[in-house]
C-alpha cells in the first residue's frame, strides 16, 4: 500500500470526478458511486489501522513531496496516534452519512459531489502535516459545507449557512494570521513536525509590540480552533447550523468537524507552543466548565429536539476541554502527576471520538423521527415507545450514551477527563460534575416527553425505523457499546502519542519564559 | 454745502447702481436704475453740463427707463419675477468686476491727468448746437439714420408674428 494516505484523501475526489460525468437523473448510480468511494475510503482507513504501529509515537506512512519550493511548502502527509482515530472515524461516518442521505431527492448529483468534496477536505486536514496544506484543506472543507447547509437545509438554511460560513471563516482568518506569524518567526517553514521542534525555542522571549508573540499566536490559533470546537463564546453558530443542516451533514458536523477544533489545539497549540499550554490551561479548563454548564442548561430549555442535541454537543465538548487542560498535571509544579495527565489527555481524545459516534447517532435518530413526523418539537410527540419499540430502544441507548452511562463509551472518556483534571483544577471539576446531572436531566426529560405517556393519536400509524436507518445506526451503537465495555483498543492506539505530547509539553516548557 | 450735496448724489448713484445689479426683483432693479440715472444727472450738474442733465432726464428717465419698465411688465409677472435673477457666474463675475474696479482705480490714480479747471460755468446749449451742425454734422446725420433704423427695426421685431 504505497501512498495510502494520498489515496485516502483523493479517492473521494475521484468519486466527485465520476459523479460529474453521470447524468443528473441517474440518481441511484450517483449514490452507489458515492457509497463506493466512501466505502473504499473506509476500508482503507481500516487497513491503515491494521498496519499502524501503535507502540510508536512517530509519524507513520509519511509522504513528503516538494510542492512550492520557493516558500518551502511541502505536500506532507502522515498519521500518528492523535490523528488515526479521527481518520477512522471520518471514514466510518462519511460512509454512513451516504446512507443517511440516501433519501435526498433534491439535486442529488450536486449533493453527493459536494459531500465527497467535504470528505476530501476533512480527511486532508487530519492527514496533512504541512501548515499550508492543512490550511488549504481547512478551507476546502468550508465551502461544500456552506452549500450543503445552504441548499439542502431546513427553512432557515441560508441564514444558517451564511452564519456558519462567516463564523468559521473568521476563525480561519485568525488562524491564517497565526500560521503566518509562526512561519515568519520560526525560520520560514510550514512543516508542523519541524515546527514542533523549532517553534518552542524560536518563540522563546519573542515579543511583538511588547506582547509575547507566543501568546498572540496561541490566542489567534486557539480562537480559530475554538470556533470549530465550539468553545463557549463562539458556539452559537452550532445550534443553528445543526438544526438547519440536513441529517447527514449534521452527523458529519457533530461527528467530525467539531473534532477538528480539538485536534487542531492538540496538534498545533500543544505541539508548537508548549509554553502556552501552561499559560492557558486554566482558562481552557474554565472554558470547559462554562461549556459544560452553559450547554447543559441551554439543552435543558430547548423545545426542538435537534437543537437539544446540538447544545449537548457544546456540553460534551466541554468535558474534552477540561481533560485537555489536565496535561499540565505532569509538570514539575504539579508534582509530576503523569497519571492525571494521561487520564486527562487520553480522556479528551477519547471523548472526541465518543462524541463523534454518539452525537452522530443522536442526529441520525433525530433525522429518523423528523422524516416521519416532519417536525422536531419535543412537546409534539408523546408515547412513541409503544408505537416504535425498536426505535425507542435504540434512542434510549443513544440517550444513555449521551448522558454518560457506564457501559457506554461516553462514560469512560468523561470520567477520564474528570479524573485527569481533578488534581489540578479541583474547583472547576467539582463544579462541572453538575454537568453530569444536567446531561441526565435534559436527555431523560426529552426522552420522557417523546416516548413516554399516552400515545399521541396523530402518530398511531408512524412506521417503525427501517432497515436502512438501522444500518446507519447500529454500527455506531456497537462501537459505543464496545468501547464502553472495553476501551483498551482505542486507548492503546493513542497512548504512546499521548505520552509523547505530554512529554513534549512538560519537557519543552520553561516557565521562566512566561 | 455743495460738497455735501455731491456726496449725497454720489452715494445715491452708486448705491442705487448696486441695487440695479443685485436686487432680486426686476422691477426693483428698474426703480433703482431710476435713482441711478437721477444721480448721474446730478453729477452732470456738478460738471456744469446743463444740457446734458436735461437730456439725461428726458431721454433716459423719460424714455429708456419707461421703455424698460414696459418691457418688464410685458414679460414678467411682477410678483413672480424674483427667482433666479442671477446666473452661476455671480461669484466669478463679482471677482472679475472687483478686479476690474481695482485695476481701473489703479490706472486712474497712477495716471497724471491733464486737468485745467475753467473759471466759471457757461451755457452749453449753443455750443453743442454749433458743434452738431458744424464739426459733427455727419455723425449727427448718421445717428439720426441709425435712430430711424432702430425705430423701424424695433417696431418690426416687437410684432407678434415676424
Amino acid at each position: 500500500m504505497e501512498n495510502i494516505l494520498s489515496w485516502l484523501i483523493w479517492i473521494p475526489l475521484i468519486g466527485v470526478g465520476l459523479i460529474a460525468f453521470i447524468p443528473r437523473d441517474r440518481t441511484n448510480f450517483i449514490k452507489i458511486i458515492a457509497a463506493s468511494a466512501t466505502g473504499i475510503q473506509f476500508i482503507l482507513t481500516l487497513v491503515l489501522w491494521k498496519s499502524f504501529d501503535s507502540s510508536s509515537s512517530v509519524i507513520q506512512f509519511a509522504e513528503r513531496y516538494e510542492w512550492i519550493p520557493s516558500y518551502n511548502i511541502w505536500y506532507y502527509l502522515g498519521v500518528d496516534g492523535l490523528s488515526i482515530p479521527m481518520v477512522i472515524l471520518n471514514g466510518l461516518l462519511c460512509f454512513i452519512g451516504v446512507f443517511v442521505s440516501w433519501n435526498i431527492s433534491k439535486a442529488v448529483k450536486g449533493y453527493f459531489a459536494l459531500y465527497l468534496l467535504l470528505d476530501v477536505g476533512i480527511m486532508g486536514v487530519f492527514l496533512s502535516l504541512d501548515f499550508f496544506l492543512f490550511y488549504i484543506f481547512w478551507e476546502v472543507m468550508l465551502l461544500p459545507m456552506y452549500f450543503l447547509i445552504g441548499m439542502w437545509g431546513g427553512p432557515q438554511r441560508e441564514y444558517a449557512a451564511i452564519k456558519f460560513f462567516l463564523y468559521t471563516l473568521f476563525g480561519s482568518v485568525l488562524m491564517l494570521v497565526g500560521v503566518l506569524g509562526l512561519y515568519f518567526s520560526c525560520g520560514k517553514t510550514f512543516d508542523i513536525i519541524e515546527l514542533t521542534q523549532v517553534a518552542p525555542a524560536a518563540l522563546q522571549g519573542l515579543t511583538w509590540w511588547g506582547i509575547s508573540a507566543l501568546k498572540v499566536i496561541w490566542i489567534l490559533l486557539f480562537i480559530g480552533f475554538a470556533i470549530k470546537v465550539p468553545v463557549f463564546p463562539f458556539h452559537t453558530w452550532l445550534p443553528l447550523a445543526h438544526v438547519q443542516a440536513p441529517t447527514a451533514i449534521s452527523v458529519l458536523l457533530a461527528g467530525i468537524l467539531l473534532k477538528l477544533g480539538v485536534y487542531g489545539i492538540l496538534r498545533v497549540n500543544y505541539g508548537l507552543m508548549p509554553d502556552g499550554v501552561y499559560w492557558f490551561s486554566g482558562a481552557l479548563a474554565l472554558l470547559g466548565l462554562i461549556n459544560v454548564i452553559w450547554g447543559g442548561l441551554c439543552a435543558l430549555a430547548q423545545t426542538d429536539l435537534k437543537k437539544l442535541v446540538a447544545y449537548s454537543s457544546v456540553n460534551h465538548m466541554g468535558y474534552s476541554l477540561i481533560g485537555m487542560a489536565a496535561v499540565i498535571a505532569a509538570g514539575e509544579s504539579q508534582g509530576l502527576n503523569l497519571k492525571a495527565a494521561q487520564a486527562g489527555l487520553g480522556g479528551a481524545v477519547f471523548q472526541m471520538f465518543n462524541h463523534g459516534t454518539i452525537s452522530a447517532m443522536l442526529f441520525i435518530l433525530v433525522g429518523v423521527i423528523y422524516d416521519r413526523a416532519h417536525h422536531r418539537e419535543i412537546e409534539g410527540f408523546g408515547g412513541l415507545a409503544s408505537q416504535m419499540p425498536v426505535y425507542t430502544g435504540i434512542t434510549a441507548l443513544a440517550f444513555f450514551a449521551g448522558l454518560g452511562l457506564p457501559g457506554l463509551s461516553g462514560f469512560i472518556s468523561e470520567a477520564m477527563c474528570f479524573i485527569g483534571a481533578f488534581p489540578v483544577y479541583k474547583g472547576i471539576v467539582i463544579a462541572s460534575t453538575i454537568g453530569i446531572l444536567l446531561n441526565a436531566a435534559y436527555f431523560l426529560w426529552a426522552f420522557q416527553r417523546i416516548f413516554f405517556g399516552k400515545l399521541n393519536e396523530k402518530y398511531k400509524d408512524l412506521p417503525e425505523i427501517n432497515r436502512l436507518e438501522m444500518f446507519t445506526v447500529i454500527p455506531l451503537l456497537i462501537i459505543t457499546l464496545f468501547f464502553g465495555i472495553y476501551p483498551s483498543p482505542y486507548l492503546d492506539l493513542i497512548s504512546s502519542t499521548m505520552d509523547s505530547i505530554i512529554n513534549h509539553v512538560v519537557s519543552m516548557t520553561t516557565l521562566a519564559g512566561m | 454745502m455743495s460738497e455735501f450735496v455731491f456726496l449725497v448724489v454720489t452715494s445715491v448713484t452708486i448705491i442705487s447702481a448696486l441695487g440695479v445689479v443685485l436686487s432680486n426683483q426686476l422691477i426693483y432693479s428698474a426703480i433703482s436704475l431710476l435713482f441711478t440715472l437721477f444721480g448721474i444727472a446730478g453729477l452732470y450738474v456738478f460738471l456744469w453740463a446743463d444740457f446734458m442733465t436735461g437730456i439725461q432726464l428726458l431721454v433716459y428717465v423719460g424714455g429708456i427707463l419707461t421703455l424698460i419698465i414696459f418691457g418688464i411688465m410685458l414679460t414678467n409677472k411682477i410678483s413672480s419675477a424674483r427667482l433666479s435673477q442671477t446666473n452661476m457666474q455671480q461669484g466669478i463675475g463679482s471677482v472679475v468686476s472687483l478686479w476690474l474696479l481695482i485695476v481701473l482705480s489703479l490706472v486712474i490714480s497712477k495716471t497724471n491727468w491733464y486737468s485745467v479747471s475753467s473759471s466759471e460755468p457757461v451755457s452749453t446749449v449753443d455750443k453743442i448746437g454749433t458743434l452738431l451742425m458744424t464739426k459733427h454734422l455727419l455723425a449727427f446725420e448718421g445717428i439720426s439714420l441709425l435712430l430711424l433704423g432702430a425705430l423701424i427695426g424695433a417696431a418690426i421685431l416687437a410684432r407678434k408674428e415676424i
Binding site: - | 460738497e3 445689479v21 439725461q56 424698460i68 475753467s118 427695426g153 415676424i162
Partner: protein, 101 residues
C-alpha cells in the same frame, strides 16, 4: 473733492457695477440695465473730461450721441426681448440659446 479723479472713480465704480450686472444677470432686461450703467459711466467720463479739459464740448456731443445710441439700443433690445418672450416664454439669456441656430 470736485476734481477729475473723483468723477473717474465714480465712473469706474459704475462701470464695474455695470459689467457685473451684464455678466451675472439672467434676465435680458436686467442685462440691458447693466449696459445702461456702463454707458452712463462712459458718459460721466466724457462730461468730466469735457469739463476738466478746458470746457471742450466735444465730450458733450459724444455723450449726446451715446444717449441716442442707448435709446436706440434699448428700443431694439426690448423689441427682441419681447419677441423672445413671445416665442420661448422666457427672457433668460442663458436659456435663450436656441437663437444660436
Amino acid at each position: 473733492m470736485n476734481q477729475l479723479n473723483t468723477y473717474l472713480y465714480i465712473a469706474a465704480i459704475l462701470f464695474s457695477i455695470g459689467i457685473f450686472g451684464v455678466m451675472t444677470r439672467r434676465n435680458g432686461i436686467a442685462v440691458l440695465m447693466g449696459v445702461e450703467l456702463i454707458l452712463n459711466a462712459a458718459n460721466i467720463n466724457f462730461i468730466a473730461f469735457s469739463k476738466y479739459g478746458g470746457m471742450n464740448f466735444d465730450g458733450h456731443v459724444f455723450a449726446l450721441f451715446i444717449i441716442v445710441l442707448a435709446a436706440a439700443e434699448a428700443a431694439v433690445a426690448l423689441a427682441i426681448v419681447i419677441n423672445i418672450y413671445n416665442n420661448l416664454n422666457t427672457i433668460n439669456v442663458d436659456e435663450a440659446s436656441a437663437i444660436k441656430q
